[in-house]
Symmetry: C2
């Protein structure tokens, strides 16, 4: 680790370890020893392990959501025509890549963390993320609604979560899948390529024919 700042050193290591092993499975002792700082540093600088988790998310999620919101608002203000489904999904990708300065390693880690945020049942995390970033998400949903006006709202709701699932699930286990791809198909895969494949899949799913009433 090259960063001399204790706080950033902790955040860097914690981010990587959380993404790799999960929150409960990563101890403060592992984080601090790997970061080369004292055990008590986490509690001193962040207050608790819980708040460290929040800080890790906030560090990349805040600039990401800010950038995304800016893009969405700009479009409305300038009176441009509505985005297509593809454009909206690509906007997510571009914004995420942009925020990480093209560093695909950290982008991948970020996606893994997002996956954990949903799948690890840490209620404090869901609350934190909802309160902090819920409004941007809702703004995005509004744009999706305009992109697929014929889709009943509840159908759209589900398909957004299906898409989210496909993305989060795939990218959060990206390293494993990359390995399988290498062994079984003798193919070398890139994160950018995977994401490029993801967009048409999700878009087609969003646009799929609405089945007969089921509930």
């Amino acid at each position: 680790m090259s960063n001399p700042n204790t706080i950033d050193r902790i955040l860097d290591v914690a981010e990587a370890l959380f993404a790799e092993k999960g929150f409960t499975e990563t101890s403060l002792r592992t984080i601090t020893s790997k970061a080369g700082v004292n055990l008590a540093a986490v509690n001193y600088h962040f207050g608790s392990k819980t708040q460290l988790v929040h800080a890790v998310f906030a560090r990349t999620l805040t600039p990401f959501c800010d950038a995304l919101e800016k893009r969405l608002i700009a479009n409305v203000r300038d009176g441009d025509e509505a985005f297509s489904v593809e454009e909206l999904f690509e906007m997510l990708v571009e914004t995420a890549v942009e925020v990480h300065g093209g560093d695909t390693g950290r982008f991948s880690t970020f996606m893994q963390l997002l996956g954990l945020a949903y799948t690890q049942v840490q209620s404090h995390l869901r609350t934190f993320l909802g309160e902090r970033y819920g409004s941007v998400f809702q703004r995005f949903v509004v744009h999706l609604k305009m992109a697929a006006p014929d889709l009943p709202p509840q159908e759209l709701f589900w398909r957004i979560h299906f898409s989210l699932g496909a993305a989060v699930f795939t990218l959060s286990s990206y390293d494993t899948l990359k390995g399988i791809m290498n062994n079984d198909y003798n193919m070398n895969i890139t994160l950018a390529g995977t994401v490029k494949r993801l967009v048409p899949f999700m878009s087609a799913g969003i646009r799929a024919e609405v089945p007969a009433k089921v509930d």
Copy 2:
């Protein structure tokens, strides 16, 4: 709990708690006290917590995979025409429901566990599942390949994982989503309805136009 058998009581409670909280977050003391058995019972009957986790998965995954394999083999043996993508996905659903005797509660729990199996980074679990049930999965992939013969193999590989992600992700956080749906849309959702919505989404995604070469 009505079951007098210690082993089954443990499995029942462990299954529910693992699905609800995750593996690391669920202690043996919580499991055994809730099951009304002695703490040492887990180590006596299963050997270790790790092996208990395996046993929980094996209990429903083994009959599920056996039933699925039977269906797939029967089709080939009888020389029936190949399954469509939709039929294959629906077969998964039907088999899963069938194995749980229509008990949607346990079906839901089962899906949550599958989600955990992928997202919780317990390497022993992935190894266990791969060795034990990998062959059935590969057989299923073969059928999917026949259902979408124009799709390049690596493209199919990714789209299967996208679909898997959509399903696992959605169904593993099903209870949460159901709650949101109830609050925000004033809609009462069923597991069967969600699954019925999932199939066309995944099928459309599998069949989506192949993008230009990206890697």
